[in-house]
């Protein structure tokens, strides 16, 4: 590994690197993010390596395991460059054919291509696929071109040129002004202007200052930071180093969840490689600027995503938040000025420096500049990670990119902002994503989790779910959060079990006020949001649960019963065989009947009853019809008349 001692040497190294890389050489790129790993990409990788070897193509064909591509619903994903032929849901058995047909014969394999559900057309090229086409992937897009474990790939796409630009001719103040001009706001959920935060630290007294990457992504359903840190760790390191230079810090920390082992591994490799190249550590690029980075793993506490709790955890203590009356960019880690920003925020910094604040501000709205990465998950056809310019309407994300709701179901709500956020109904889908627009409607953009819910989702249960999550994760220090949520959870759980009573909603509202006004940290202060937003937009559901003991979405176990309609049942024995509690009686030509005492409400019968019969159903708010007498259960089949 050569140590690069100046920006000029960096450019020379980069030119040399690019001259050695033939852009027309065939390269098989395989998405190697965690989601694709779970779908089997490791086995596919082994198969590819084996096949290339077997067919003697080691010299002609490159194989690159890249960061997450984002279309996680369809993994494992292969993109063959330079043609950009995109294959989905690859199994190891497909690989020999891919190598023989596509690599050697240049023939496309139809069955592995993406099919546009609207036109039934097969799409060959990655950039033509609606999922990718309708995004604006200025940050996330680089993932597909780099192997996160190889710094050369990052250098080949222009990596570290922003750092070189900064260290070879910009003052810290100039860097700061550019970031301020770009109006880069925190991508972790708070949306605080990064430039202002940096300036506060820069001006705070003291020689020792820290910069911190918050990679403790804890919102359930959000995994953008994971994929960014796993897939392109250098982009985050570069941004962090630039930020350190701007505020005068020489020591940085990356606090990453231990539940993200691949991210921990890849960022450690990236740090090591950057140090070897002289892009991190002492005298970076010969500029005289020293900066080291240490990685700290989290140990399983959502609250440590809160900035003061994170700093407490970095000090080796239990992550209890501190009051924010004195801001942590002035008194932070070890009482020193500390700039803490989210992974995605740091990853935007090199782009802003390289392209300028004016370039950056062309994306987005007046108050929300740039793009945002969302994890689009739940009841959506195209589950994955999407990046769009701020100001994009929710409707476009859900339908144009997300492909709408699968299974012919109706959209019900989109939940954003994680446990601090809220649910928005269909009428509000034209709202643009951004820091302020969703907040006015009772939700918030948050860190980027976007959970789509359909007609089968009970909104009262969603409020209960988030409260259960938060009571598990609360640090327990202050009364409004620990005790307030304890009681809120009890009341909501009772409501979902049919034990709700008059006055429950009012009590929940009062507990909400106590938490919002008097809780210690943002976790507590925002804990009532899921309840308040679902109450605002779906009040009828609360009232049905409390007054009628009915769950309109047919979801809450205690309030529903499974029933087989004797008029529709054709005694196919499907549900009978699959029922885990053996609660269904019947036989061939004997109409099936569910024993309500044994039924555990697992829903299997409902899932497996063939749709042409649709005999198994859920009912709520009314008593289960008594089983028809045994004698009436025999089905007499009509014989086929000629």
């Amino acid at each position: 590994m050569p140590r690069i001692n100046s920006p000029a040497e960096l450019e020379a190294f980069r030119r040399n690197l690019l001259s050695e890389r033939d852009p027309n050489k065939t390269c098989i790129t395989l998405c190697s993010g965690s989601a694709c790993h779970a779908s089997g990409s490791r086995e596919v990788a082994a198969s590819i390596q084996e096949e290339i070897q077997k067919q003697g193509l080691n010299a002609e064909v490159e194989f690159r395991r890249t960061g997450c591509h984002g279309f996680c619903e369809r993994g494992p994903i292969i993109v063959i460059r330079p043609e950009e032929i995109c294959y989905f849901q690859i199994k190891p058995e497909d690989v020999p054919e891919i190598v023989s047909e596509t690599i050697k014969e240049k023939k496309v394999i139809e069955r592995l291509l993406y099919t546009d559900p609207a036109t039934n057309e097969k799409i060959v090229h990655e950039s033509d696929i609606p999922f990718y086409k309708n995004q604006g992937r200025i940050v996330f897009g680089s993932n597909v071109s780099v192997d996160p474990k190889n710094i050369d790939d990052y250098l080949a796409i222009g990596g570290y040129s922003a750092l070189a630009k900064v260290l070879s001719g910009m003052t810290p103040d100039q860097v700061l002004q550019e970031v301020k001009k770009a109006n880069l706001r925190g991508r972790g959920g708070g949306g605080f202007p990064a430039g202002t935060k940096w300036e506060g630290s820069r001006n705070a007294p003291g020689d020792v200052k820290y910069v911190i990457v918050n990679a403790d992504e804890g919102d359930p359903g959000a995994y953008m930071d994971r994929s960014l840190l796993e897939g392109n760790p250098h982009s985050v390191l570069e941004g962090l180093t630039i930020g350190a230079y701007a505020i005068g810090s020489h020591e940085g920390y990356i606090y990453v969840r231990q539940e993200y082992p691949l991210a921990v591994e890849n960022v450690n490799i990236a740090i090591q490689q950057a140090e070897e190249f002289g892009l991190l550590g002492k005298n970076i690029l010969g500029s005289g600027f020293d900066f080291i980075v240490k990685v700290h793993r989290g140990a399983g506490a959502f609250v440590c995503g809160e900035s003061t709790a994170l700093m407490t955890a970095l000090e080796g203590r239990a992550g209890e938040p501190r009051p924010k009356y004195v801001r942590s960019n002035v008194v932070g880690l070890w009482g020193r000025p500390s700039v803490l920003n989210n992974v995605e925020t740091w990853a935007n910094v090199p782009l802003i420096i390289n392209n300028g604040a004016d370039w950056f501000t062309q994306f987005g709205t007046d108050t929300s500049k740039g793009t945002k990465i969302f994890s689009l998950v739940g009841k959506i056809t195209n589950t994955g990670l999407v990046e769009v310019p701020m100001g994009t309407p929710l409707r476009d994300i859900i339908y144009k990119i997300g492909g709408g709701i699968p299974g012919g179901k109706k959209f019900k709500a989109v939940q954003t902002g994680g446990p601090s956020g809220g649910c928005l109904p269909e009428e509000l889908l034209d709202l643009p994503v951004g820091f302020d627009e969703l907040t006015k409607a009772g939700s918030m953009m948050g860190s980027g989790g976007m959970i789509i819910m359909d007609e089968d989702t009970c909104m009262v249960d969603i409020a209960r779910y988030f409260l259960e999550f938060l009571t598990e994760e609360s640090c327990g220090k202050c009364v409004p959060c620990r005790e307030g949520m304890r009681q809120m959870l009890k009341i909501l759980t009772n409501i979902t079990k049919g034990k709700g009573k008059e006055g429950d909603i009012e009590l929940l509202e009062q507990l909400s006020e106590t938490a919002i006004e008097a809780a210690l940290c943002a976790l507590g202060k925002s804990s009532p949001n899921p309840f308040l937003s679902t109450l605002q937009h779906f009040r009828e559901e609360y009232e049905a649960h409390i007054k009628e003991k009915r769950c309109p979405a047919l979801s809450c176990k205690e309030l529903i019963s499974y029933y087989i309609d004797p008029d529709k049942c054709q005694a196919c024995m499907n549900c009978l065989r699959k029922c885990p509690s053996e609660a269904i009686t019947g036989g061939k030509r004997q109409i099936h009947v569910i024993d309500q005492e044994k039924c555990t409400k697992c829903g299997t019968c409902f899932e497996v009853c063939p749709s042409r019969f649709a005999a198994a159903k859920k009912i709520s708010g009314e008593p289960v019809p008594p089983p028809i007498p045994e004698e009436a259960r025999t089905i007499v089949r009509k014989s086929k008349e000629k």
């Binding site: 506490a301 609250v303 239990a318 009051p323 009356y325 004195v326 009571t471 598990e472 994760e473 609360s474 640090c475 327990g476 220090k477 202050c478 009364v479 409004p480 620990r482 005790e483 307030g484 949520m485 304890r486 009681q487 009890k490 009062q510 507990l511 006020e513 106590t514 006004e517 008097a518 809780a519 210690l520």
Partner: protein, 204 residues
């Protein structure tokens, strides 16, 4: 040290820089209720009972006076409809754990808190942290600490330290508003030195 002028409940108060609103109020003879505060200990900010309304630069918000630093020209109100409402709720939440605590009952009378608003909770520790903090900051023995988090948080003695230090100390005992501490101590004692009858059983 700089002098800072602020208004508390309509009264002009002179405070020193670095003081908290609670300290400033107390120095002027204005009372604000607290549960987790103690002069010998670092402010903790857990019970949230000492909340007050602070009006500054046109904005009014609720802050916790035991940790909020004084600022010049702020207007502080130690009682208001909102402050009282939230204090009442905090007391009711605490009373669910320790309905018979004298300290809580006195405060409940003042704020009209109903001890039966919520169903009784099994643990009567209200997590003021006085025992843990006193042992750590004043006695520096660390014989008792917290375990777990959220609704499962509890206090727990370290048997090896407690068996040596606590018998002759017990300075934290009078601090506990609910006697949960005394109960925890007795439980710990019972676990580390089982009664002779149980020992005989085990030896059989």
């Amino acid at each position: 040290m700089n002098e800072i002028l602020l208004k508390i409940d309509g009264k002009e108060v002179k405070a020193k820089e670095g003081m908290t609103v609670l300290e400033a109020a107390r120095s002027a003879g204005i009372s604000i209720p607290t549960l987790c505060h103690h002069e010998k200990l670092e402010p903790y900010g857990a019970c949230r009972l000492c909340i007050v309304e602070v009006e500054s630069r046109g904005w009014t918000r609720i802050v916790v006076s035991c940790v909020y630093p004084v600022e010049k020209n702020i207007i502080v109100r130690t009682r208001s409809e909102k402050v009282d409402r939230i204090r009442k709720m905090i007391l009711e939440l605490q009373l669910a754990h320790a309905p018979d605590s004298f300290i809580l009952q006195d405060l409940a009378k003042e704020y009209g808190a109903d001890r039966d608003r919520f169903e009784k909770e099994p643990s009567f520790c209200i997590h003021c942290g006085l025992c843990v903090r006193y042992c750590a900051e004043v006695k520096k023995k660390n014989a008792v600490g917290f375990v777990d988090r959220g609704i499962r948080k509890e206090i727990s003695f370290i048997p090896e330290i407690a068996s040596k230090e606590c018998w002759n100390c017990k300075e934290c005992f009078p601090l506990c508003p609910t006697e949960a501490l005394q109960a925890a101590y007795v439980l710990m004692e019972a676990l580390i030195s089982p009664p002779p009858s149980l020992k005989r059983e085990a030896e059989k």
